[in-house]
């Protein structure tokens, strides 16, 4: 047992670190906890940052070389992620495209689609989004109602998607539609690549509960998509979507990084703020800080165990869902302890000198518990696929997902 890189991993990490140092002046850097979803203001700089990283060989680590990737391993990908975080580079503008859309195109797209889309995605010439959730189908994704109807060489799409991260800056998306309403719900779906700038596509930013607009609702009114933009066969959309969702789990279930603010940030905050509290309050605040630190460390070290599996050539299994579930709980404890340490300022949206680091991370937590699998859906996955508990009886096997 050790927490060190293998010699090969250490060489790779040193190379990544050197590359990032060489290009530091060309990269966007974020302060800890900066709102990562608000891409609009930084869009051009974020696209440039990804392009610089791509030219330096740090983007698409696990992707095939023929499409501009590096042909590397999941461990190398994780090391790049860790080094980007260490260097203070914010999440990449195309994180949805790199984590989910691209792998789906690689697995199910035609050669023509791969050549056309993947190199531009890697360079952030095109930003991608994932058009899955709808107003009436979030956790129950396969109940979606957006339709695609065949018309000559095209499909005509009508419907609405929602909670679409990055749609307001995106150029393309992968779009899950219902193409056969007479089939049982999972069997009537088909996946497409859609041009977000095409006629009939309307993107409206949605203001989130914290006030900023990081995601969107997207309307489709008679949008024409050529049949050549289909991903997989008609009716195979669910299988294609599972590829996307599995990659999402790899992307989120990561190797021991904190989901909210790093716990080291809480420790530094406590060092400064604890002495300012009443002595009796200090006792209680230390309990809250201690609880948050334990939860964060337990999640982090469990992530190291998953990372070890990757390092030995394994694939992430359903237990990766536990990382997101526990990471969300830890993020809530860290955020709560951080806010409480603010004393009287804790009831405001920012401190008297305008710092809203802790209030912002507090507002981020409810979204964490929903996005990429709600806490409840993750518990179902863990209960059924890890513990082997029986599933609930289902009432939704009728055509088109209707009851």
């Amino acid at each position: 047992m050790d927490f060190d890189d293998t010699p090969e991993e250490a060489d790779f990490r040193a190379g990544v670190r050197k590359t990032l140092e060489e290009h530091a002046g060309e990269l966007l850097h974020a302060g800890a906890g900066e709102d990562v979803v608000d891409a609009r203001t930084h869009e051009a700089e974020m696209r440039r940052t990804q392009r610089v990283l791509h030219e330096a060989g740090l983007i698409g680590i696990t992707w095939p070389r023929e499409y501009g990737g590096q042909g590397g391993t999941l461990v190398q990908q994780a090391i790049v992620q860790q080094e980007l975080a260490r260097a203070g580079v914010p999440p990449l503008v195309n994180h949805i495209g790199l984590g989910m859309c691209g792998p789906t195109v690689i697995a199910h797209g035609s050669d023509e689609q791969r050549s056309r889309y993947l190199p531009r995605l890697l360079r952030a010439d095109d930003v991608w989004c994932q058009l899955f959730s709808e107003p009436a189908s979030g956790s129950d994704l396969a109940a979606l109602r957006t339709t695609a109807v065949r018309d000559g060489d095209d499909w005509v799409v009508n419907g609405q998607k929602v909670w679409t991260t990055l749609a307001h800056v995106a150029d393309f998306g992968i779009l899950l539609t219902r193409t056969d309403p007479e089939k049982p719900k999972h069997a009537g779906l088909t996946m497409f690549v859609v041009d977000v700038h095409a006629p009939g596509v309307t993107v409206r930013p949605l203001r989130q509960m914290v006030g900023s607009a990081g995601f969107n609702e997207v309307f489709f009114d008679d949008v024409r998509i050529p049949d050549a933009e289909r991903l997989g066969e008609p009716g195979e959309g669910w299988r294609v979507a599972l590829t996307t969702l599995m990659n999402e789990r790899v992307a989120i279930g990561g190797a021991g990084s904190d989901l909210g603010l790093p716990v080291e940030t809480l420790a530094a905050h406590a060092r400064e703020r604890l002495p300012r509290l009443d002595p009796e309050r200090q006792v209680l605040a230390r309990q809250a800080v201690g609880r948050a630190v334990v939860a964060a460390l337990a999640t982090r070290y469990t992530g190291y165990r998953r990372f070890t599996v990757l390092s030995q050539g394994g694939l992430p299994g359903p237990e990766a869902s536990a990382g997101k579930l526990a990471g969300t709980a830890a993020a809530k404890l860290v955020a709560d302890a951080g806010v409480r340490l603010l004393g009287d300022d804790a009831v405001y949206a920012a401190t008297a000198d305008g710092d809203d680091t802790w209030q912002r991370t507090q507002g981020y937590v409810p979204g964490l518990a929903i996005a990429g699998g709600t806490d409840q859906v993750l518990r179902n996955i863990l209960g059924e696929r890890v513990l082997g508990l029986p599933p609930e009886p289902r009432l939704d096997k009728d055509p088109g997902g209707r009851r």
Binding site: D2, A270, Q287, V289, V293, Y301, Y304, L389
Partner: protein, 329 residues
């Protein structure tokens, strides 16, 4: 990074599982509440060499690491075995400079207990009820001696708890405060390892039942209210394993990290085992509340262990102080 057990540790864990399953059980823990012996007992543990895992080979031990001992302790915890390997690990640290006594620890010719609190009247201390030699901290000095043990009415008879008044004492080392603190951290790690085994077993017992038991025409594990309880208990166990391995590894490989890791593991263990045991009783319903069922034996272990060697509040406070002082790096 290789945060996993090695092949030798996996083999040792497998061997320990077989040994403990063959020599201890929740049924024995139940019988101990009614006056029966604690199983497998001091002699059997000495015989298989578990009391000397971390004692140097030169003193008749196996010269192993704390991680080697922790993976064995986990298996003992799973079947509520006694005496605890907490004492073996803690005494091995305290006796590092006293090979003659360490040899008696390893071969079982003396049954040690380590006293918490004043040696003139200690706090309830693990395995003190059956001990023949006691180690204590007296005015900053490490002492060994004989004593008079006064057990209370046991909540969990496998822990052998008793308060002790030393009747003789010999100083082994002056200014032993730092050594004593490190031994107590090592003890906390081993207690967390035994709690890991107990919590894992309690969750498995409940999961197995939820797959079989039917109510309202369905197996109860299909209900989300039951499923989610079990998942939360399991996630706690999975995370506790990470903290126990880290803390046990740190004891030998990164001693600077031990205080933080040991307190994190002990605080988490207290809450994880309590939740696992309470979930186990609740998922079983009425049968889980009976004397004949094993659930209450895990519950008893949880209610006792959470308070031994410092409760969660003490260890959370320690974690916070260490983190604020820069222990996270």
């Amino acid at each position: 990074m290789n945060f996993d057990l090695g092949p030798d540790q996996r083999d040792a864990a497998g061997g320990a599982r077989d040994f403990y399953r063959g020599s201890a059980s929740p049924a024995a823990a139940r019988a101990a509440l009614e006056g029966g012996p604690v199983e497998p007992g001091h002699e059997a543990l000495a015989g298989i060499g578990y009391l000397g895992i971390t004692v140097p080979e030169s003193a008749g031990g196996a010269g192993g690491s704390l991680l080697d001992l922790a993976v064995v302790a986990e298996q003992g915890g799973a079947v509520l075995a006694g005496p605890s390997l907490v004492t073996a690990a803690r005494a091995a640290v305290l006796l590092a400079e006293h090979p003659d006594l360490a040899a008696q620890l390893a071969d079982g010719s003396a049954a040690f207990a380590v006293l918490d609190g004043p040696v003139t009247g200690s706090a309830p201390s693990i395995d003190a009820a059956g001990a023949t030699l006691f180690l204590g901290l007296d005015d900053g000095a490490l002492v060994v001696g004989e004593g008079e043990a006064t057990p209370g009415r046991p909540l969990d008879a496998t822990r052998g708890l008793a308060g002790v008044r030393l009747t003789s004492r010999r100083v082994l080392a002056e200014d032993a405060g730092a050594l004593w603190a490190r031994a107590r951290q090592v003890a906390a790690v081993v207690l967390a390892a035994e709690d890991l085994g107990a919590a894992d077993a309690a969750v498995q017992l409940a999961v197995d039942y939820a797959k079989e038991r039917e109510a309202f025409g369905r197996r109860i594990g299909s209900y989300q209210a039951v499923k989610h309880m079990l998942v939360d208990a399991w996630v706690g166990v999975d995370q506790l394993r990470s903290l126990v391995w880290w803390a046990a590894w740190a004891a030998d490989a990164a001693p600077d990290e031990l205080p933080l890791a040991a307190s994190a593991a002990k605080a988490h263990a207290a809450e994880v085992l309590e939740r696992a045991a309470e979930t186990c009783v609740q998922v079983h319903g009425g049968i889980g509340y009976t004397w004949e069922h094993d659930a209450h034996l895990y519950w008893r272990r949880a209610k006792v262990d959470r308070l031994l060697l410092g409760d969660a509040a003490e260890h959370l406070d320690a974690v916070a102080r260490l983190a604020v002082a820069g222990a996270l790096g």
